[in-house]
């Protein structure tokens, strides 16, 4: 099948291209990209066997890569499956997802890795890359057979959201992975400092009486792991960075030449700890605020269409690891994206079933089902003028590819036709009950967002197309 995607605003960061034009896809590959000026130089022969897709007013970009996805299969298929998770990815404009090893069994043997790859080939809607477990059973006691996992095709090693407390083992893991040429992806949390946490430690946790996860618990662990990366010369990738202090540590390390890369999640860029308050008055000693319908936190610069007061207080959908932080952290994370300290936006897509979420806040499993709202959420930064659109697309395409040390996803002729068409200005209301992910756990249910994926193509095959597009 051949497709001619016409009149789109083509954004291809890897080629430094941003222009209006057409993309011709053929046999699973990008065949040609036409500037509007030379579009018809090829003549009319195209029209015979080509399906024309009108992308006027929409952005055409390389498909997004998500470095941090919990697909839950094998082991927790009630939360998500490889089929449902990759379908959610397609809806979100992602053509590649990197599957975290937080499965049961975990990705600590080639057999499990091959099984995941096989299911992904058979049932996956987009490409799935497998992240191998760093330690046996992700228990933090002994290294997994990392070379075997590398041979099976793993693209990185990680213990998922479980922090590796043993510094000596982390050193060994980094040294060993370095020899295999693969990064170690670390979720940074000092488990003793964060013990018992329900949310970010600070003013809101104090007001709500919830045990806190201090920013220092992340920063201390980032500092340790950077020191170990420096010691071993390994490539350390920091997952789901959420603190201003963490960004500063990474910036300094990169300036020293340490091989460290980093990712940030859409929710950490846009939602603060105030979301746990929901519709409670923010305090400040005044009279009760009553139940407002508009954002009571203008100081956060939350646009009118992101309204935390749609949620009741202590809504478990706001519980995520690491937790939603402060307005100052949000600012520092966006600055980190702008100045290149942070390489990639990664969803941390963590679907949970209702059993894990419909309960008391402190007992709820952390996680946000993020694939289907990621683009619209980060586009709010563009709409607020905090990030430019080309830069944003780069953080979803070129950035993740660089982290994985691969040639970036691109629309250059001959490249695998992984692409997304999205309308950055289309408004829609989030309805979690209509997610294709099995995880309906999102704090954004009912929010008006701007920016919608219209079509996603993986290897030249349409894997998602919005009705009416």
């Amino acid at each position: 099948m051949r497709y001619l995607i016409k009149n789109g605003s083509i954004i291809d960061p890897a080629q430094r291209v941003a222009m209006v034009g057409d993309v011709l896809v053929s046999a699973g590959k990008v065949e040609h990209v036409y500037d509007v000026a030379d579009r018809y130089s090829e003549g009319g022969a195209l029209n015979d066997d080509v399906e024309v897709i009108n992308a006027r007013g929409a952005v055409v970009a390389p498909g997004f890569t998500d470095l941090h996805t919990y697909l839950r299969e094998p082991g927790e298929e009630h939360k998500e499956t490889i089929a449902s998770g990759t379908r959610a990815a397609a809806h979100g404009g992602f053509t590649t997802v990197c599957a975290m090893p937080s499965t049961c069994p975990t990705h600590d043997t080639a057999a499990v890795v091959r099984q995941v790859q096989a299911i992904a080939r058979e049932q996956g809607h987009v490409h799935v890359e497998v992240i191998g477990a760093l330690t046996v059973g992700r228990e933090g006691r002994a290294l997994a057979d990392l070379a075997e996992l590398a041979e099976a095709g793993c693209i990185a090693f990680s213990d998922g959201g479980r922090p590796l407390e043993d510094a000596a083992l982390m050193r060994n893991a980094l040294a060993y992975a370095a020899a295999l040429g693969l990064p170690v992806m670390a979720c940074c949390e000092d488990g003793r400092l964060s013990a018992g946490w329900a949310m970010h430690e600070g003013a809101v946790s104090t007001r709500l009486g919830l045990p806190g996860f201090p920013a220092a618990a992340e920063e201390a662990r980032i500092a340790r792991d950077i020191a170990l990366a420096e010691l071993t010369g390994a490539h350390l990738h920091l997952c789901q960075v959420s603190t201003a202090g963490g960004v500063a540590l990474i910036r300094a390390a990169r300036e020293r030449g340490v091989h460290v890369t980093a990712e940030v999640a859409p929710h950490h860029l846009t939602l603060s700890e105030h979301w746990v308050l929901g519709n409670l008055p923010a305090g400040g000693g005044g009279a009760p605020a009553g139940r407002t319908t508009r954002s009571p936190h203008p100081e956060l610069g939350v646009p009118a269409w992101l309204d935390p007061t749609l949620l009741p207080p202590y809504h478990p959908s706001t519980r995520v690891r690491p937790p939603l932080r402060t307005a100052a952290d949000l600012e520092a994370l966006v600055e980190g994206l702008r100045d290149g300290t942070i390489d990639a936006i990664a969803t941390g897509h963590a679907p949970q079933s209702r059993v894990e979420k419909d309960c008391e806040y402190g007992l709820a499993a952390p996680g946000i089902s993020g694939l289907e709202t990621a683009l619209a959420l980060v586009l709010s930064l563009v709409h607020r003028g905090e990030l430019d659109l080309v830069h944003l697309v780069a953080k979803l395409t070129e950035g993740p590819a660089q982290v994985l040390d691969r040639s970036p996803a691109s629309l250059r002729p001959g490249a695998r036709a992984d692409l997304v068409i999205f309308d950055p200005d289309a408004s829609w209301t989030v309805d979690a009950t209509r997610f294709v992910s099995l995880g309906q756990n999102t704090p954004l249910h009912g929010q008006r967002l701007k920016g919608q994926v219209m079509l996603t193509m993986a290897s030249g095959r349409i894997v998602f197309r919005r009705a009416g597009f």
């Binding site: 329900a198 430690e201 600070g202 003013a203 946790s205 104090t206 007001r207 709500l208 009486g209 919830l210 045990p211 409670l280 008055p281 923010a282 305090g283 400040g284 000693g285 005044g286 009279a287 009760p288 605020a289 009553g290 407002t292 508009r294 009571p296 009741p312 207080p313 202590y314 059993v355 419909d358 309960c359 008391e360 806040y361 402190g362 007992l363």
Partner: protein, 314 residues
């Protein structure tokens, strides 16, 4: 912040004091005085809540608070039943939401909930058509305790405005402290939190929500000028968790010892929400001093809970 200060037509839930205005608190304290009068009669019962079903839903053991609510409900002629998590379907894995739906189906009008998880009453309120009263949730709130404290102070000292109140001890883990912060600051009292840094945390964590509050780690300095000292229970696990060097050092620095009792004089109210660890945060001498009102707090608790039940059911 939004500026709407108008009261809801009728209060449905009492989960924290953060949404109580000074006027509403005053009204409740006035009703409490009437309820106290009822409790002083030979027949301690009025028919105000006849035919209403109140369920005490206690996920955490608390004999005192449970009995207080029970007596309050009975004095208003309500039907009250006790639901204790122990030995119930909860132990078999039933979720809080399912339990609430069941109680709803059984005809409960008011649920009184005690729970170890902060915020649990909000979850109950979302799934229950009647009223929810928070009888203490985690570290978050204990509004009836704060109301009875306000009543007791006001009854003894004749005012709340401009009083200097010292909340002493394990503030960070205390729902009593948080609800009193809302209540006292709203009534115009000045509050100082005093205790070791490990049991309070950074001062700006508190002043972000309660800007007028001050934090002190020096009890003897903080006692000067105080009109009320509210000592909080110190759980011995805090020492085991590494938050304190030793209980001995805690008592020396932050205990209401006989020496401190002598220094503050007879006009300063000594309060404690109970249960006390005598000899740790409070000495037996201080607990039984003429200016200690700890038993009055318990007595007033029944009347305050009657006033609140009456207000929600009214």
């Amino acid at each position: 912040m939004a500026t709407s200060t108008s009261e809801p037509a009728r209060r449905r839930h009492a989960i924290d004091l953060d949404d109580f205005s000074a006027a509403e608190i005053m009204e409740i304290l006035e009703t409490t005085a009437s309820m106290k009068e009822v409790l002083s009669r030979e027949i301690k019962q009025v028919p105000a809540l006849r035919g209403r079903n109140v369920v005490n839903m206690f996920y955490e053991d608390s004999t005192r608070t449970r009995i207080s609510f029970e007596l309050a409900a009975r004095a208003l002629s309500a039907n009250i039943v006790n639901f204790s998590a122990r030995g119930s379907s909860v132990e078999k894995g039933e979720s809080l939401i399912d339990t609430v739906r069941t109680l709803q189906a059984l005809g409960a009008d008011i649920v009184v909930i005690r729970h170890s998880q902060s915020g649990a009453p909000y979850l109950v309120a979302q799934h229950f058509h009647g009223s929810v009263i928070n009888a203490g949730d985690g570290r978050h709130a204990h509004p009836t305790q704060a109301l009875l404290d306000l009543y007791t102070i006001n009854e003894r000292l004749g005012q709340l405005r401009d009083l200097q109140v010292l909340i002493l001890g394990d503030v960070i883990h205390s729902r009593v402290a948080r609800s009193n912060l809302w209540g006292l600051t709203r009534m115009g009292a000045r509050v100082t939190l005093c205790g070791p840094p490990t049991l309070i945390g950074p001062a700006h964590y508190w002043t972000a929500t309660w800007p007028e509050v001050t934090v002190s780690h020096d009890l003897d300095a903080a006692l000067a000028g105080a009109n009320v000292v509210m000592a909080l229970r110190l759980q011995k696990e805090r020492q085991q968790a590494g938050l304190l060097p030793s209980l001995r050092e805690y008592t020396r620095r932050y205990g209401l010892t006989p020496e401190r009792l002598a220094r503050i004089g007879p006009d300063v109210l000594i309060m404690h929400p109970g249960p006390m660890n005598e000899g740790v945060e409070i000495s037996p001498e201080a607990a039984t001093a003429p200016n200690a009102v700890i038993e009055e707090q318990v007595t007033n608790g029944v009347a305050v809970r009657m006033a609140l039940l009456y207000r929600l059911a009214g």
